[in-house]
Symmetry: C2
């Protein structure tokens, strides 16, 4: 189970680094993935998308701290945002779509076919994200020059 999960997780890690680097011209340093047993990662804005495949179903969430997403937004759009506006929330949806799309392509090459639902975004200071799953929840922390963000992935087989 854990092996398969790792196989599912790496494509998201790779895709997240690619997307932020390419779209926002921002270096991203992934930290060590860990199995999430508490609810420690809190973000100011989150994108969530459901994934459904033949072999497994799951969900991915990406949670940004305010400073991290405001930096990424200004890099991507070429304009500053002072707060998490509708435009910033929309940008989080785009990023969520792009990361999942990239991961889906990598997973497809490995023989895992997934279909994506549409992303939902959540804004609000210090909200917490939980996944209802029998599988393990893998959390990957990422650092940027402006702050951190977290990717959470869980799959049920």
């Amino acid at each position: 189970m854990l092996t398969v999960n790792v196989e599912f997780v790496n494509p998201f890690l790779v895709s997240a680094v690619n997307v932020i680097k390419t779209m926002a011209n921002t270096e991203v340093k992934p930290g060590k993935p860990f199995v999430k047993s508490d609810r420690i990662s809190k973000g100011d804005v989150t994108g969530i998308v459901g994934l459904r495949g033949v072999q497994a179903k799951g969900s991915m969430a990406i949670t940004f701290t305010g400073p991290a997403i405001l930096h990424i937004y200004s890099q991507m759009l070429g304009e500053n945002a002072e707060e998490i506006s509708d435009a910033v929330v929309d940008c989080v949806g785009e990023i969520t779509n792009m990361i999942c799309g990239g991961a889906k392509a990598i997973l497809s090459e490995k023989g895992y076919k997934f279909e994506l639902a549409i992303p939902s975004m959540i804004a609000g200071k210090n909200h917490m994200v939980f996944h209802k799953t029998n599988g393990k929840i893998i959390c990957i922390p990422f650092d940027t020059i402006a702050g951190s963000f977290f990717l959470e992935i869980c799959f049920e087989e």
Copy 2:
């Protein structure tokens, strides 16, 4: 597009009333569904699930105010909760699963087949939920004796 959307929306409305009535022995009064153009519905705890079918893909979110979910929780579990604990968040996940499962069964009879992803839950005072979609976002407000909750459904064809 709107017709199809209504056809997709009613099964969720029916299922939500059934689930809360049956599982929590609580009368639910659905309000008039409306197309959501602002971000007015704020909840204290939310369940989100992605849906993917041949004809359409979408997502459903159910957002509860604190008093509403604490009442529903105590009715379902037979024990009181003073705050939105992990157990309450888990209960929101169960409710999300049950409502989607019920709606899926009704939609299946109409010839629309959907697969569900796993639910994610969000907790945090006054968080806001957004959906990234080209389709309309339909919001249904519900009233209970203890407070209100909101169902948001959107589909892209």
